[in-house]
Symmetry: C2
Subunit: 344 residues, 2 copies
DNA sequence: TTGTAGGCGTTATCAC
DNA sequence: GTGATAACGCCTACAA
């Protein structure tokens, strides 16, 4: 009933099923004539090869598993888009699993993907990246972490992420180039490597502009907009207050912008603001947000390429570690340098 | 090398592979003692059942295919989140494929999913829904369309979408309840069924408030923010201009808000604005946007449930049509009724 | 050039 | 209870 198989075609064409198999895979071991006849017949009968049966014998599923915390995060969604499109271009398809931020569910997902015999695994924003180290041997497939939040990256790990220090440096250099000299930083989650990196970039840019680092200008945020809202009054109470501020990410900056508006401060006249991420929103807020864009699509793209390379090179089995970094890009909008149209 | 199979376990345990199979599936046809022994051994050896081999014999993959235009659309991403989580809860996993708005790629995706023998198919925002009608017979699995933009829904189709008329009615009733009587509508893509439905809801709400419909108040948009920006001057040039406006969707409303700000109109004092969708941004714009929320997660959830039902009931083979509608929910924010804190 | 036979890792149906 | 044996749909030596 369900689906026609090569045996059905074989019967119809009065040949053996192996001849059908060969004809359909364009094997040279079959006569031109029967080849076209079989292929025509297959199309007519609505044949669709069974990928499972094929991969059972070939040992490859042409499928890669993708584990995310939640696909509803626009940032992650863009990375996944890069993954899906790149995978498709290489003849691979993608099984998506989300952990909903629960480590247990994340392990479930990995186990399920192992059962489905994915050829490789990409994990984004995992906070439990370390667990993969233990599971790697039995997983038997390459694993690439994207944008993970772990501190230490040991052996057996492959990851790809943005160069946080470089990005932070870009952001702050932009401000120093504009002449700002008293520049604040609103942090993200304190011990995330991304926060540490961006802070380091901040210090580096200050240093190269000949500005001495002042720790009171670093105020805590949390990566969310409410963190930015709370940070603003703290910054403005300083003597003297900063004239520009670099925020851990765009959501922080957006919260800070909102607080500034309510406090009657105009941006960028009273305070220049730079974010990080370039979430879709940042061009729509008012004033639009200067930020460091993370190449999200590209990160997905590179993750797939890394997995593919690791797959073919898996004879040299994993002693190597590789952590690739992509460079962020400064996007100048109204919240820094330029004066907004209608705010003068 | 790669993965241990039940045969490996059988050899190790000195039993037949069928006994191992039974032990691992908790069959009653195996002694308690060997069952625990085998299960222990399996865990020790790092056994992972091969889902492909299993589905080859069972005829079920416990996988559903999801075709999207792009996962980077936050709206779609939330629907997919609902799909993934619901599927997971029912023991199903999700293969994701994106069409990038190209019909040809969409067909590719469907063909690939057929090869992978998915048990069901969910397609979101397809503009070529009609193609599925032809392919349905050979697809041999249930297909559910989510939020599709086709006009006619013929036989053999199953879909789920928001009740546009009801939603439009909610939005405009909210405005009439507040006392507004001259209310505009900025359209979406003219012939989309969603636009037609929302317009119909607009007219219905006017009628039940005893307001006669005035066609000049309906001005064209395009579903994007620039459409909203261009619509504002058109509306304000009317004599008399509207005091409130319902927009086809949030992006349109956001564009309109921006134009209003540049024109020196304050919202909602000079003009109340209501959108549709409740995209994540709408709570962040200023003033925050009153809107009709589409239950995106729920739509994904219901789509999975529909697929699951159709799967088990596929003996009654498809003569039926079913189009389920979920109800939107009014979210009142600053852009309508309430006056924003700092705008008085 | 084509057919036969075996195997991929399961489950399921028989016997014993 | 357990063990052969035969599927599931495909690929691929090896024979013919």
């Amino acid at each position: 009933m369900s689906q026609v198989s090569i045996k059905d075609i074989a019967r119809e064409a009065s040949v053996s099923h192996s001849t059908v198999s060969r004809a359909l895979s364009n094997s040279p071991l079959v006569s031109e004539e029967t080849r076209v006849r079989i292929q025509h017949l297959a199309r007519e009968m609505g044949y669709s090869p069974d990928a499972q049966a094929r991969s059972l014998v070939k040992g490859r599923t042409h499928t890669i598993g993708v584990v995310v915390t939640t696909i509803a995060d626009p940032f992650i969604a863009e990375v996944v888009q890069g993954i899906e499109i790149t995978a498709h271009d290489h003849g691979y398809s993608v099984i998506l699993a989300s952990s909903s931020f629960e480590p247990e569910r994340e392990l479930d997902a990995v186990e399920m993907l192992r059962s489905k015999r994915v050829d490789g695994l990409i994990v984004t924003s995992s906070r439990v990246g370390a667990i993969y180290l233990e599971h790697l041997e039995r997983l038997a497939v390459p694993v690439v972490l994207v944008n993970n939040h772990r501190e230490e990256t040991g052996r057996y790990t492959f990851s790809i992420g943005v160069d946080n220090q470089h990005g932070g440096c870009l952001a702050v250099q932009h401000l120093t180039d504009l002449g700002y000299r008293r520049i604040g930083y609103v942090t993200g989650p304190a011990n995330h490597s991304s926060n540490v990196g961006r802070l380091e970039g901040y210090r580096q840019a200050l240093a190269s502009a000949g500005i001495t680092f002042d720790p009171v200008l670093v105020v805590p945020g949390n990566g969310r907009s409410d963190g930015g809202e709370r940070a603003l009054p703290v910054l403005m109470r300083l003597k003297p207050p900063p004239t520009a501020v670099f925020c851990y990410n765009d959501m922080t900056a957006i919260g800070l912008l909102r607080a500034a508006k309510e406090a009657g401060l105009s941006v960028p006249q009273h305070l220049a603001v730079v974010g990080f991420d370039d979430i879709p929103f940042s061009s729509y807020v008012h004033p639009s947000l200067t930020t460091v864009a993370q190449p999200k699509f590209e990160m997905g793209e590179q993750a797939v390429q890394m997995v593919l390379e690791l797959m073919t090179a898996c004879d040299v089995p994993t002693e190597r570690t590789s952590n690739d970094f992509v460079q962020g890009q400064l996007i100048v909008r109204e919240s820094s340098g330029q004066v907004a149209y209608n705010a003068r």
